[in-house]
Symmetry: C2
DNA sequence: TCTTGCTCCTGTAGTTACTACAGGACCTAT
DNA sequence: ATAGGTCCTGTAGTAACTACAGGAGCAAGA
């Protein structure tokens, strides 16, 4: 849209990256896939980013760090942009992600137990036959059979 | 190597998939990238899998389920194949993965806390302005700043 | 003025670990 | 003969970026 002069009003992509914590190449990628609107260009073709862009980038980064999938982020942005009173939908997405995270935690805790046992069986690591390899070769770790 | 007759000695890829729990297409992929040795072929070109292949596939599946990266699996298989007395190296890999898993668990627990707070702030989800969106837009969740 | 170095541009390919499909061959049974 | 199932190879798609190639602009120092 707005094509500004070379003396920029907004931030360069490098500045936007530093300010938002999103890698510059990733910002271009987000623009390409439409996760953020197309940034303004200066007369030399370089992007300028205003505060609204920075807020959006920060939002995306936070959401991604919280483990939201890109599709979730897209939905949340859509809800944030348009649809008033869509807070309930937002809560659904957040709660679904919280459930997923709790599931992951439970699963990882089981994995930790298995690995701890396996590492302990290795003891000092001086035995000629490796019990770890043997264990992985033959057993289905009981802790994993449930709820893969 | 061994080209068998049509009446097979070993298992078909479908059977191998069922027995090992590894998808048939994934088995072909593993063969292609050299994670398993090239399976024998029957006179009609179809693969046959013997018990050694099945053990290897089971091993890979277990290790992947335990969160080992493919590169780790490859190393472990190498250690299992050759190098006697390499149990110590195996232990190193296992322990590194255990550390990684513990880190993931800690991180996910922090995420859970943030999401729980965020979801609670949403309460009944009937407010016109969504505090979740606002929170993600503006705040850097303190729990995440450390140890990303 | 030239040169060095930085940032930026577009477009494409690589990454991880698979999964899915296209298009064809073969096998088994009715 | 024909229908359905399994298998083959090879390629392309997935998520979510990251990295690179090849080029252009810009600012500052010698």
């Amino acid at each position: 849209m707005a094509i500004t002069s070379t003396r920029a009003a907004g931030h360069s992509i490098g500045q936007a990256a530093a300010l938002s914590g999103v890698n510059a190449e990733t910002i271009r990628y987000f623009e390409r896939i439409g996760l953020i609107p197309r940034a303004g260009r200066m007369s030399n073709g370089r992007r300028t980013f205003g505060p609204e862009h920075l807020r959006r980038l920060a939002f995306i980064r936070q959401a991604r760090e919280l483990g939201f999938a890109q599709s979730d982020v897209r939905q949340l942005l859509g809800l944030a942009d348009g649809a008033p009173g869509s807070c309930a939908k937002v809560k659904v997405i957040v709660d679904a992600n919280m459930q997923a995270i709790r599931g992951k935690i439970a699963r990882l805790r089981r994995l930790e137990e298995v690995l701890k046992a396996v590492s302990a069986s290795c003891a000092n690591g001086t035995r000629p036959d490796c019990p770890v390899i043997e264990a992985l070769m033959h057993d289905a770790p009981a802790a994993l059979s449930r709820g893969a």
